[in-house]
Each structure stands twice: as C-alpha cells, then as structure tokens.
C-alpha cells in the first residue's frame, strides 16, 4: 500500500455530516460487576465515517467498542447495526485488538492466521491463497507469509491482525488503541496506511485511542468520554482537509486548536 497521497482526491466531504446511522448507540448503559461502566451513551456513526473515541483511562472507551463489536450486551438501551439490534458479533464487523500478540494464533503462520478468517467465511480452499497474498501485500507484509507471529516485530504483528480483519471484508472496522504499544515511527506509518486502506475501501471506522493527536489526525469526528461512569463529554468534527499529512496536517492552526480543546477536556475530566 504505497500510496501517493498527492494524487489522491478525498472521497468524503471535508466536514463530515452524519446521515443515516450505520451503527447507533441508543441510550446505552452497561454495568459490569456491580459497577456502572457506561451511563446513557447515545451516538450515531454514519457509513464511511472515521470516528475516534478518546478519554482518560477507565472512561469506558474500550467497553464502548466492545459493545459495537457485539462482545458485550448493554444492561439497558440498544446497539443497532443498519437498524437491526446487535446481539452477537457479526462477520462484517471486524475488531483490531490492541494486544496483537494475544490476538494472533501463535501456532499458525501469517498465511494461516489470515486464512482463519477466510476458512470461517467459507471461502473455497482454491481461492484462499490468492486472497491471502493480496491481503498481505495490502498491509505491507508481502514476503512474510511463512513467518510465525513470534518471528515478527510488533508493527508487523499488528499489520497481520489488520490483514485478518480485512479478510472478513468488513463494513465496519473497530480499532482498540491498535498502535498504542508501537514506537512513534511505526505508529505514524501505520496511521497513514490505515487512512489509505479506509479511503480505498470506504469502510466505517471506530477508532479508540488515548492519543489526542492521533484522534485528530485520523478522524472525521472525535468523541471524548468522561469517566465514572463513562458518558459522552465532548463531540467535535475535524475540519481538516484530506489526504492528511504527518507534517503539514499537524502544523495547521485548526489541528493545534483542536488539540488544545481536547487536551483541556481530558485534563478537566481527570480533575
């Protein structure tokens, strides 16, 4: 995925206005172990939108993502996907876990790990090899198919997990602090690659991060959660032109203004 951003025209309007929601949280509350994790959270995500969720530790942002994945069921309220209630995980909603080392099958090679998604989707054996090769190229792992996860760097493992998620041909990609454990250079590279993948596929993304700059850099919209219990505290559209650039985008006054605003929000929420 060696994109040439200068020739790319943005597919979406600069300021993203949600239309019919693809994923909707309708007054969600969730109690786990006698503790209220989320209280009355409502939010809509439109098809093709890149929504970032930020918040201090323990604000329930990962929990919100797991609700969207169908891994948790809300105590009250409901999560809908295209109008239908989410009761179990769906194959067209993929989730990229933060701890890539635990989410990959250590006894399968890179090819085998991607294959797992294709096997369960019922892709005929004859077609798998080509599809896997294509996906590995897409995430920048073209010559690493025979490696085991333990033989790969953290960045490569996370790419592999993304490849497995893309093999699901998802309509929605949920990402839970996917680059939190990676070094700064690897993280920036992967941010751009994800933006390019999303641009090319038009997939909806909900991206959880504690890195404010990452949220602004990637998102069409950022939602900030307040902790104890988790609830929506701030919501802001990101009016930055696409394609985004690691240097120039981050230098724009609007970027800096948003960063200040979100920083103040996080600081206030932790007080």
């Amino acid at each position: 995925m060696s994109a040439t951003p200068s020739t790319v025209t943005p597919l979406r309007p600069v300021a993203f206005q949600p239309r019919t929601p693809q994923i909707a949280f309708d007054g969600i509350s969730l109690d786990l172990g006698g503790k209220t994790i989320l209280a009355n959270v409502s939010l809509d995500v439109a098809q093709g939108e890149f929504l970032c969720i930020i918040g201090a530790s323990g604000c329930g942002k990962t929990t919100a993502l797991r609700l969207a994945a169908g891994l948790y069921q809300p105590t009250s309220g409901r999560v809908t996907f295209d109008g239908a209630a989410m009761t179990v995980p769906r194959r067209d909603i993929a989730i990229v876990f933060q701890d890539y080392g635990k989410a990959l099958l250590p006894w399968r090679t890179a090819i085998g790990n991607v294959s797992l998604a294709l096997e369960t989707a019922g892709v005929p054996k004859a077609e798998r090899a080509d599809r896997i090769e294509e996906l590995l190229v897409k995430v920048g792992l073209p010559f690493h198919g025979d490696k085991y996860p333990a033989e790969m760097s953290g960045g490569m493992q996370q790419r592999l997990q993304i490849a497995r998620c893309l093999a699901q041909e998802p309509k929605v990609l949920l990402m839970d602090e996917p680059f939190g454990a990676l070094d700064a250079m690897t993280r920036q590279g992967l941010q751009d690659e994800v933006l390019e993948l999303v641009r090319a596929s038009g997939v909806t993304v909900i991206f959880v991060t504690h890195d404010l700059e990452e949220a602004i850099y990637l998102g069409d919209r950022v939602i900030g959660l307040l902790p104890h219990p988790g609830r929506v505290g701030i919501e802001t559209a990101i009016d930055l032109p696409r394609p985004r650039d690691q240097l120039t985008t981050r230098e724009q006054p609007e970027f800096l203004r948003l960063r200040r605003r979100l920083f103040d929000f996080i600081k206030a929420s932790e007080a």
Partner: protein, 254 residues
Amino acid sequence: MIPHGLKPLLLPAVLIAAFEIWTRVTNMQSDSLAPPSAIAAAMIEALSGGELWTATRDTLASTLAGLAIGSAIGLSLGIALGISNVFNRLMEVTIEAIRPIPSIALLPIALIALGFGYRMEIVIVAFACIWPMLILSRAAVGGIEPRLMEVARVLRLTPADRVRKIVIPAALPRIFVAFRLAASIALIVAVTCEIAINPIGLGASIMAAQQALRADLMLAYLIWIGAIGYLLNAGLLFAQASLFGRAALAGGTP
C-alpha cells in the same frame, strides 16, 4: 582425560564397581541383593530367553491400551469441562468424589468383574490415566488466552471449529505434558497391578523371581522395567519436541 559426555556416567560406574567389590570382599549372601556381575548375568540370561519378552509385551500392551483409553476419556472430559462452566460446576462434586480413590483399590472389584488378565489391568490403568489428563487438560483449556476465544467469537467460528482450530492447538503443548505424566503413571499402575494380583507381565515375573529366591533375576527385571519407563518417556519427549517444537515454544509453559 575422560571425554566430556561420559562424565555424568562416572559416579554410577564407580558406585557399581564399589558395590561389586564390597559383595565379593564380604562374601555377601542375600535374598534381596546380588552383586552387579550376577545381575548382569541374569539380565543376559533373561534377554536371551522368551519369558522376559512375553512379560514385556503383556505389560506394555496393558500399559498402552489403558493409557489410550484413559487419556481419550480424560482428554474429552477435560476439554468439555474447560469449555463449559456449567458442565464443570455440574460435574465438580462427582469428579472430586471419584478422583481420590487409588486406582489399585479398584483391584478387588475389577478382579471379580473381569477376572485375571489384560482386561482387568487395562481398566485399572485407564482409570488411573483419566485423572491427570482430565485435570491438566481442563486447566490447559481454562488457561487459553481469552483474547483468542474472543477472536473465535468475532470471526463466528462454529463450536466444532472453535475446539478444532483454537482450543486444541492452543492447549496442545500442555495436554502433551499431561499425556507424558499419564504414560508414566500407566506403567507404574500396570506393574503394580501385576505385582499385586495379576499373573501376567513384568510385575508377575519380578514376583516369581523373588519367590524363587533369585535376587539377581529380580533385580535384573527391576532394571529392565526402569529402562522401559525411561524409553517410554524419552520417546514421548522426542515426539513432543518434533511435533510441537513451534507450538510448545509459543504456547508458553510446556
């Protein structure tokens, strides 16, 4: 100089030589001990005869059959219990009530029900093998990285695929350790069975040598049983290393 690889053998060699000299100097007469040279002679005699091989076959047949049956039962129960919390709680009291029964204590019942011979011994060995397999495979399945089970849920793996593609490969290195443990228990129980009551196999041969006051032959059988146990474990270790080199490496505690 002594070659490096032979150094660990030095101490046993010296001890055996010292024992040999001691038995000759004191002109030892014993029903329970024999000089190493006499044991070696008895061993050669036994190896060239047919009785030792028949006995070995009988013991190994019972050991392996019991191991196979017990492991299969223990493994399937262990996996089922590891996967299903409800099933685990349902069975907990039953399992904890049956498990402490020493398998050898079942000998009288097995003898009445099945008589002397292979069948009775196989049942006793299988009973003994069920528990380490069940307990350890249950723990192995319970110890599988929860994230992997979530991956299985998100990818919508069928229950059969979850077991086949996630649970068993993830638990396999630890299950194999359980199998090695069960194998050593199987041999112990089989020989014990034969010494106690069952007139076949190496245990019965040891008893026959003892009753014939052939301390040399008795000790030769003892060494032979030890060698078989050693070979059994070495074979399984080799299989483990060649089968799960990668998985054992990645699976954490093998």
